[in-house]
């Protein structure tokens, strides 16, 4: 139908190796970006921005991080929540130690700390694989969570043990703290996610991405090609934890706006992000977004959306019903397509190419 690459000839390798070689994909992405940057901030209400979109973007970032590790490099991690926590506390420390630093820089820079911690806990990955590695990363989860509670230095010795987000602005616009408008917070988050997704796509389609996938698919052969397994795995841990750290910092500073951070970065969070990656599609950046939308936004939309269209739901019933619905949908999608929503999208694209013929 309209989705055909027929007639789009590439006359040089640069065009052929572009991130989106098909014209329709580029147009589609352009429309999505237009909606995200122009339509949503202008026409969306505060609820849509701060309860649906900002959490979605934060989780997308975290899911991209875990997808780099689990989907592209084949290393399962249950420590994502903790790595996000490292980012959040690092951002708190950095921004309170250097109050004049641009907050956006603080958020991105806190990813570096998270990356370093990720490398440390990634060291066992050379020796252990699969489920055993997952268990080893649990150590990171529990140890780091212990640190968040027991080391008062991390939260500047304040009594509540919470992260306090002070008011900061970029170019005169307040973006963090109680006075920041949802629009400004959303735009900051959106810019962050757009740039970091672009960088991830670049890295993953080049030499380093191929090394990651080679390690995932056949580590023995990868070593034989001269790919250093330890270096590649640690780089994957660093790269992935960087994204998780930035997501954690953004979660505390842009979305939640501070508070008792320890609970936000527990094992449930790690599992939630792992589910996003699995349901969205392992080894696909699009999958990270789809998974984040499915797991984080769907419950919110159901909970608040159903009453809005006239289906009355109240309090606990809404809570329970959304659990049941989301659980059922997860089962449904896993049965229909075990490789995730991203694969479903790919099959759909293939069908469009062939349309109206079945094959």
């Amino acid at each position: 139908m309209f989705y055909r690459e027929t007639g789009q000839f590439k006359t040089n390798y640069a065009d052929d190796m572009a991130l989106l070689p098909i014209l329709q994909d580029r147009i589609g992405l352009g429309i999505i970006l237009f909606v995200a940057y122009v339509i949503i901030p202008f026409f969306g209400n505060d609820f849509l921005l701060s309860t649906v979109m900002i959490p979605f973007l934060v989780f997308s970032l975290a899911a991209i991080g875990l997808n780099i590790l689990t989907g592209f490099t084949g290393l399962i991690s249950l420590g994502t929540g903790a790595f996000m926590g490292v980012g959040a506390y690092a951002c708190y420390k950095v921004s309170s130690t250097f109050p004049d630093l641009n907050i956006l820089f603080c958020i991105v820079f806190s990813g570096v700390f998270s990356a370093l911690v990720g490398v440390l806990f990634g060291l066992p990955s050379l020796r252990i694989k699969g489920f055993y590695l997952a268990v080893a990363t649990l150590a990171a989860q529990f140890f780091l969570q212990w640190c968040f509670v027991r080391i008062p230095w991390l939260y500047n010795y304040n009594v509540s043990g919470a992260i306090e987000v002070s008011q900061r602005s970029i170019f005169g616009v307040i973006v963090t703290g109680a006075k920041a408008t949802p629009e400004s917070r959303y735009i900051v988050m959106l810019v962050l996610v757009t740039l970091m997704t672009w960088v991830a796509a670049n890295v993953l389609s080049g030499r380093i991405g191929r090394a990651f996938m080679a390690v995932r698919d056949m580590d023995i052969a990868a070593e034989l090609m001269g790919i250093d397994l330890l270096k590649t795995k640690l780089l994957a841990f660093a790269f992935s934890s960087f994204y998780a750290g930035v997501a954690g910092a953004a979660m505390m500073f842009i979305w939640v706006g501070g508070g008792e951070a320890n609970d936000s970065f527990n094992i449930n969070q790690s599992f939630l992000i792992l589910f996003m990656v699995i349901i969205g599609g392992l080894g696909s950046l699009l999958g990270a977004f789809l998974g984040a939308a499915f797991i984080s936004s769907l419950p919110t939309i159901l909970k608040f959306g159903l009453p809005a269209i006239g289906i009355p739901l109240a309090g606990a019933t809404a809570e329970h019903l959304t659990y049941i619905l989301v659980g059922g949908l997860i089962l449904f999608f896993l049965i229909v397509e075990p490789h995730g929503l991203a694969r479903l999208w790919q099959i759909g694209k293939q069908k469009l190419r062939m349309w109206p013929f079945p094959y």
Binding site: M17, R207, A211, M213, I220, E223, L224, M225, G226, L235
Partner: protein, 265 residues
């Protein structure tokens, strides 16, 4: 024609295996085996199942560390080494049971073979413009030559997991060639192929040897192929070296006939 080429190419020793012994606990895989591979030749390693052929390849490219003996490659003697070091010295190999990166396309698989030759750092990789893209394109051109050579243009962007076995073997050869190896180790390149595929593969092996001047060591069970392709053959049995010489010598060797055909008692 081929013979004359090889008489010219035959020259210095590229790799020498010197009194190598390898055992796993009580199991002796290789016992005191010595042979050499000369520059530009096709060297076959044959023997019945469990003779230690694959173990021998694994020793050569550093997967196994022999308990005794040493290996000299390009004049450098070593007894222990890591596979990634062997790769950077110019040894590439294919596997008996295809070891491709199944989730990646044919192109990406062969591009992965160029990893050692790509050096742009993380910063440029993040941007994927300028030097990183130039490098990518330069290597893409090399990879496209290999794709042309192996006649796999049509499956360039197909994930290799979906390809039939014969093509997978061909892609694996391509991936090894992308490393521009000095020594190419082929572990049963024709196992499980039909006659036509075997003919194709034989042609590719001879072409690689002649066009790129690559030295090849191959393990193969199809005696017709071995005798036709190789310049010299080494025969292993139960980890011992049984015979070593030109195909004709080996064919006439009593011990080899015994090992392969058995003998009336």
């Amino acid at each position: 024609m081929m013979q004359t080429y090889h008489q010219i190419a035959r020259g210095d020793t590229l790799l020498a295996v010197d009194h190598v012994s390898l055992s796993f606990g009580g199991v002796k895989a290789i016992t005191d085996v010595s042979f050499d591979i000369r520059k530009g030749e096709i060297r076959a390693i044959i023997g019945p199942n469990g003779a230690g052929k694959t173990s021998m390849l694994n020793v050569i490219n550093g997967f196994y560390h022999p308990q005794k003996g040493q290996i000299t490659f390009k004049g450098l003697t070593r007894s222990r080494m890591r596979p990634s070091v062997a790769a950077s010295q110019g040894i590439a190999r294919t596997f008996q049971n295809v070891a491709l990166f199944k989730g990646m396309s044919t192109l990406d698989n062969i591009m992965a073979g160029r990893t050692l030759k790509m050096h742009r750092n993380f910063f440029w990789q993040c941007l994927r413009h300028g030097p990183a893209m130039d490098e990518e394109i330069k290597h893409r051109e090399f990879v496209e030559d290999i794709i042309d050579f192996l006649e796999i243009q049509a499956i360039r962007k197909v994930p290799v997991g979906k390809l039939p076995y014969g093509l997978q073997k061909r892609v694996e050869l391509g991936r090894a060639l992308a490393m521009e190896p000095d020594l190419l180790l082929l572990d049963e390149p024709m196992a499980g192929m039909n006659l036509e595929e075997k003919e194709d593969m034989s042609r590719f092996i001879v072409d690689v040897n002649q066009q790129y001047g690559t030295t090849i060591a191959l393990i193969e069970h199809d005696m017709g192929v071995v005798m036709d392709l190789s310049d010299r053959v080494v025969v292993l049995e139960y980890g011992h070296k049984l015979a070593d010489g030109t195909p004709d010598d080996v064919k006439a060797n009593e011990d080899v006939i015994k090992a392969y055909l058995g003998v009336a008692h």
